[in-house]
Amino acid sequence: MEFLKLTYDKLSVEAISDLVANPTCGAISIFIGTTRDSFEGKTVVNLEYEVYETMAIKSLKAICSEIRNQWPNVCNIAIYHRLGVVPVKEASIVIAISSPHRGDAMSAVQWCIDNVKKSVPIWKKEIYTDETESWKENKE
């Protein structure tokens, strides 16, 4: 199954992990992106995410299909992205994937986060203590 969500609520790693758990699966791999407190020496006070919602859901679905192509043994996939203000240290994204053996879940999560960053229309703005702000750009 697939669990995709864009939400203004705090993300619960436990709940997302429970979603993908399955008695036939021995492995769950999770990636959590958390917000950092500084950028090039400036202190981040606040951080906001914005989304192109309909297209984002479409891209997330496309990512899930491609994961199932590449890793047919993958069992469940959850991709939760938080929107709006995200306090420093809290999760902006949680990806959880289960599979019978660990290799599949781990590779799939790695590919998944790379491709979420590349293709899902979501934007982050950082606001610094000196009152400047900046829209970020994924590079990795």
Binding site: E50, Y52, V120, P121, I122, W123, W135, E137, N138
Partner: protein, 84 residues
């Protein structure tokens, strides 16, 4: 022939334009480059022109596309992504 399409702006583009979306009239057959130029000129997006990508109905376009637009099509102005 022209048609009415909906432009939707995000992130930096939305801040510059000051609106989430606007209906405009454009040529219904138009090259990607001309559409981009039209949007950039009309909404003063010159500063971010080089980093913008256009989507039509939630699909990324490429710079070599010729677009055939119909009334109500949604054209999104997509600054560099920073999700995750």
């Amino acid at each position: 022939m022209t048609t009415e399409v909906k432009l939707v702006f995000f992130a930096k583009a939305r801040e510059i334009v000051g609106k989430n979306h606007i209906i405009i009239e454009v040529n219904s057959t138009i090259s990607y480059k001309d559409l981009l130029k039209t949007v950039v000129d009309r909404f003063a997006l010159g500063d971010i022109e080089k980093s913008i990508i256009l989507c039509v109905n939630e699909e990324y376009c490429s710079a070599s596309d010729t677009l055939h637009l119909s009334k109500g099509d949604e054209i999104a102005i997509i600054p560099p992504l920073s999700g995750g």
